[in-house]
């Protein structure tokens, strides 16, 4: 074991893993985090805690992660390259490890232009792949990026994201390979709707032997409505929503669209359970955390294992 991460234990035992997501509040209210956590507890193996997602200021991801630990959940502490240089990142990683965070996700981060401080100064001292490499070095070599010794290494289970639908398509699997070479232990993908392209991508990853070296969790975001599906299709960069998704939502009554969205997600999860190279699913229910119990139930992902 590389860490004390629950997610690592689940994946190592070959159990189909389930991760969830929680966005910290835009305020100092710990109860908001605790309330959202209730919907996730016992239903996922780890919970991604986003780091100022879409560049909107929110409660620090490490702080919300600690609140989750207090509630008996395992946080997957997200860290983006946008806001911190290598000094701050390494310092935060040591602090997170000291406070009992064992799993982290290394991301570039959304550009500040999308957020509430669009004219703030970006950092990007490192990119996401260099961040992965740095955390691996801290954990495995007990060295800072500078090469100097760490007195006690942070034992992190290292995650990263990948978007099989980003351009250029043919480079995507090679970018995955770079993340694996840098030292990522698991990957959570962008929300998947275009199953055909995802199957191609995972096949490439299988053929290159990458899925023997890294656990891949397939990203799932159920559509709440036709409106959401159209927005995701037309306005969210890097997403690929095929027409069949739109047609299925159009085909049902407006009140039944959320139900249909969940049905589609459950069908996808069934396929992922059988798909070579896929080790689990990552449920991104953005401000829809209370639906996690229903989806995990309907997708037959319960009960979650208790790993020692």
């Amino acid at each position: 074991m590389k860490s004390e991460s629950n997610l690592e234990k689940v994946l190592n035992q070959g159990i189909f893993a389930v991760t969830g997501e929680l966005g910290p509040p835009r305020g100092a209210d710990a109860n908001i985090v605790r309330e959202k956590a209730k919907h996730l507890k016992g239903r996922v193996d780890a919970v991604n805690v986003t780091d100022n997602q879409t560049a909107m200021v929110r409660m620090a991801s490490w702080a919300a992660s600690i609140l989750l630990i207090q509630e008996g959940l395992e946080p997957n502490y997200q860290m983006v390259c946008r806001d911190r240089n290598r000094i701050a990142m390494q310092s935060d990683i040591l602090g997170a490890s000291a406070l009992g965070i064992h799993t982290m996700l290394c991301l570039s981060g959304d550009h500040q232009k999308f957020g509430d401080h669009p004219k703030s100064k970006k950092v990007y001292d490192l990119d996401s792949i260099q961040l992965i490499d740095m955390v691996r070095k801290m954990r495995d070599e007990s060295k800072f990026l500078s090469g100097q010794d760490i007195t006690q290494a942070p034992k992190m289970f290292i995650g990263a994201a990948e978007n099989p639908f980003g351009q250029p398509y043919e480079f995507r699997v090679h970018r995955l390979a770079k993340k694996v070479a840098a030292g990522t232990d698991f990957i959570q993908t962008q929300c998947i709707y275009n199953m055909e392209r995802f199957r191609e991508w995972i096949k490439q990853a299988n053929d290159m032997g990458l899925t023997d070296k890294v656990y891949i969790l397939a990203g799932i975001t159920p559509m709440k409505s036709l409106r959401m599906a159209l927005y995701m299709k037309n306005s969210v960069p890097g997403l690929d929503v095929p027409d069949w998704v739109i047609k299925r939502l159009e085909g049902v009554d407006k009140k039944k669209q959320a139900d249909e969205g969940i049905a589609i997600a459950c069908e996808q999860i069934e396929e992922f359970k059988e798909m070579k190279g896929v080790a689990g699913v990552h449920l991104m229910l953005i401000e829809w955390e209370h639906k996690v119990p229903e989806i995990t139930e309907r997708a037959k992902l319960l009960p979650r294992p208790t790993c020692q």
């Binding site: 570039s108 999308f114 001292d125 980003g166 840098a182 960069p237």
Partner: protein
């Protein structure tokens, strides 16, 4: 070349108000080429300021003078006598030019009339684009002659983020994704190997003030210091 653009007239007016006699110094170098601070722009700004400040102030005089380049000491020499009667200087050079003027005439307030934008190219008349961050550690050999530091909104070094849409940047859909271009160019040249390996964290060379003294001149300036 260095690309600059004129500040808002209101902002320039605010900086120089209260000064009775102002010399507006143009630059025949980069800011002249990018139509921001050459002879013509000096004349236009002097006219505009005269019109808008004459009403507010009883006494106001502004004159223009364009030097060959504001970043060269020997081109500034000719200003030494000229500046004497003026209360303040306005510079239509880049930020380096403004500072070089201020350094040469420390008793005179010097104000920038331009905002210096970037190190770029002249795509066409009146169309300039950034190309270089002068980072001091050029990676263009690896990236097929396209700078990921200057051209990628996140300055990524290991390939594109997840966001390119129709080969354009997620931050601005008018701007092509630098990494899509890098990929396409290296692919066409059969050099994709360049970007298949992890590019390690950079050792940033631009985090303190840059000074370059060529080896051959080191003795000369060491003596001068003494």
């Amino acid at each position: 070349m260095i690309i600059a653009t004129k500040k808002q007239l209101e902002d320039i007016k605010e900086m120089i108000k209260g000064y009775k006699k102002v010399l507006n110094v143009g630059c025949g170098g980069c800011t002249s080429v990018c139509l921001a601070g050459g002879q013509k722009e000096i004349e236009d700004l002097c006219t505009q300021l005269t019109i808008c400040l004459k009403g507010d102030q009883v006494v106001f005089e502004i004159n223009g003078f364009t030097v060959e380049r504001q970043c060269e000491p020997h081109f500034l020499e000719e200003l030494d006598e000229i500046v004497k009667p003026y209360d303040a200087l306005l510079s239509m050079g880049c930020g380096a030019g403004v500072q070089f003027l201020a350094e040469r005439y420390p008793e005179k307030p010097v104000f920038p009339a331009l905002n210096t934008l970037f190190l770029g190219v002249n795509k066409d008349i009146g169309w300039y684009e950034e190309r270089c961050k002068s980072c001091g550690d050029c990676v263009l050999g690896m990236t097929g002659g396209i700078c990921p530091n200057a051209m990628c909104a996140k300055g990524l070094l290991n390939g594109p983020c997840g966001g390119p849409q129709d080969d354009h940047c997620e931050v601005d859909n008018e701007v092509p994704c630098a990494w899509v271009k890098i990929y396409e160019r290296l692919k066409a040249q059969g050099r994709l190997d360049n970007i298949m390996k992890v590019c390690p964290a950079r050792e940033w060379q631009d985090q303190v003030q840059g000074t370059l003294v060529l080896e051959a001149y080191r003795d000369r300036y060491a003596k001068k210091d003494k």
